[in-house]
């Protein structure tokens, strides 16, 4: 008898996951015994300095890297490779320059051999939501950096995944565009039941977007501290200007400083 999938409350579960890269002359220990769970619909930010191994953590969640030890479960089943219900955003938009914005957004459907007609409505809706209406036929080089990353958001969401993984997706953008993209993501998020892991080195982004923040130690990365963000949803971008928000950011800054010392 098949198991009822509704019993599985966890989107993804890291169980004592470690990762060592066989570099020469000395193997690189990137991740050390990481355990945490992202529940369904939960938005978790992974906060840490550059090069601490948090990206490696995310690549394992995406099925692009295999853990050296420990176990990764996705929806209650061991994760062995890229998952159909997972959307991924990278540091760069990584759009294919020879495809139009629409074809780039539809790329996951192309790869999964899903007929265009089935996902076209969803693609157009997403393109409209992120403010790219009218640019469906444009090539990536005709777009600004922020617009490209918006297209990448659409691509990550086009197959309606239940988990979305974001690897410092706004780190290549200027500060103003970056805040703007945070708002776009926040707005997009209020209306979904998706789970998310958002890797960032921006405390502000982490507190604004996430339900829970995991602060990583220096390499090899372990979860140094966990903080439940005390702000209810829906959140407005103006939240970031409040004193309470500032206090949480300051607290996290202290936590990071302690862990770096």
């Amino acid at each position: 008898m098949p198991e009822a999938p509704t019993l599985v409350a966890d989107a993804i579960r890291f169980d004592a996951v470690g990762k060592t890269f066989p570099t020469r002359p000395v193997p690189l220990r990137a991740v050390e015994s990481v355990s945490f769970t992202v529940r369904r619909g939960e938005f978790v930010a992974i906060l840490g300095p550059s090069g601490c191994g948090k990206s490696t953590l995310l690549m394992m969640a995406a099925g692009l890297e295999v853990p050296s030890e420990g176990r990764l479960e996705r929806g209650g089943v061991e994760l062995v490779g890229p998952h159909r219900q997972t959307g991924v955003m990278f540091q760069d938009a990584t759009l294919l320059p020879w495809l139009s914005v629409l074809d780039n957004v539809l790329f996951p459907a192309t790869i999964r051999r899903i007929p265009r007609a089935k996902v076209l409505d969803q693609a157009m809706r997403l393109i409209g939501t992120v403010g790219l209406k009218g640019f469906e036929g444009a090539r990536p080089h005709e777009l600004s950096g922020g617009m490209r990353q918006r297209a990448a958001i659409c691509r990550a969401l086009v197959l309606d995944p239940d988990l979305i993984l974001m690897d410092e997706p706004f780190s290549a953008l200027d500060a103003i565009t970056r805040d703007e993209m945070g708002d776009v993501l926040l707005d997009l998020w209020q209306h979904t039941q998706k789970s998310a892991i958002f890797v960032t080195h921006s405390i502000r982004e982490a507190v604004l977007l996430a339900d829970r923040v995991l602060v990583m130690s220096r390499r090899p990365a372990t979860v140094a501290e966990e903080l439940v963000v005390p702000f209810p949803r829906p959140r407005a971008p103006a939240l970031a200007d409040s004193a309470e928000f500032g206090a949480v950011v300051a607290h996290l800054r202290g936590v990071i400083a302690r862990n770096m010392a």
């Binding site: 159909r84 760069d92 294919l96 790869i111 999964r112």
Partner: protein, 257 residues
């Protein structure tokens, strides 16, 4: 930034043309006033009249050479791309073939022409095979370089979307390789004519290369020049066609980031 160059009207290359006219004039006056014998250097006028008189024969032989070279070019492009694809997708075949491919790149391949006559006899098969042989390498090496130049981030994105090695090849590597394929194809276009002409020198009873040998035997130097002029025209035409195809491909797979 490209708008200005696109909007600019096509201009004739006046300076190179002027140099060409100057060389023709110098050539003509050298022959006229220094009394150079026709067998050594015919005047531009006598080459032109030879072109005119021999036009029907030249056309027939041009068809043979042009057909062989264009056919060999197409086969070489297809075979070169397949060879590169196979080496890309199979590490074992890559290890077996690639060093040999590079070795062949270094060889003076034209010197192997007589071997093709030994194996395939005199005539079209040996000449065609030889023309393919000399022009396949630039396409294979160029395409392989292009397939390997794919952006690792794009490949990772493809894999994250669930793409297998074949899909990464088709959707990321192949479009990336297009400029490299065309760079190789342009070299192959000239090599195919070199191969066809040399092949006709040693193993044919038709074609412009054959005609050049015949004219040489009769000391008909103006006809040699006439045949060479037609050969240049054919080579330029194929090169131009590849250029047009490249422009079309660039519109389709433009790789500006």
């Amino acid at each position: 930034m490209s708008g200005a160059t696109l909007a600019a009207p096509a201009r004739l290359p006046w300076l190179p043309l002027a140099i060409g006219v100057l060389v023709l004039l110098a050539w003509d006056s050298a022959v006229r006033f220094a009394h150079v014998p026709q067998v050594l250097l015919p005047s531009p006028g006598s080459v032109a009249s030879s072109l005119w008189q021999a036009a029907p024969v030249l056309a027939r032989h041009a068809l043979a050479t042009g057909g062989a070279a264009c056919g060999a070019f197409l086969v070489a492009v297809a075979a070169g791309m397949v060879l590169a694809a196979v080496m890309m997708l199979s590490p074992l075949l890559n290890r077996l073939l690639y060093p040999n491919l590079l070795l062949f790149q270094l060889l003076p391949k034209v010197a192997l022409g007589p071997l093709f006559v030994v194996w395939l006899g005199i005539g079209l098969p040996s000449l065609f095979a030889f023309a393919v042989f000399v022009s396949v390498f630039p396409v294979a090496v160029g395409t392989l370089a292009g397939l390997r130049a794919a952006d690792p981030n794009q490949l990772r994105m493809c894999r994250a979307a669930g793409g297998n090695a074949w899909q990464a090849f088709w959707h990321v590597r192949l479009p990336t390789s297009m400029p490299y394929v065309f760079a190789g194809a342009k070299v192959a276009a000239t090599m195919a004519f070199t191969g066809a002409t040399v092949g006709e020198f040693i193993s044919a009873n038709a074609g412009l290369g054959y005609m050049v040998m015949q004219a040489q035997a009769r000391s008909d130097t103006p006809l040699i020049f006439a045949a060479l002029a037609v050969l240049c025209l054919l080579g330029a035409a194929l090169y131009g066609a590849v250029g047009l195809a490249e422009t079309a491909a660039r519109r389709r797979w433009g790789t500006r980031r």
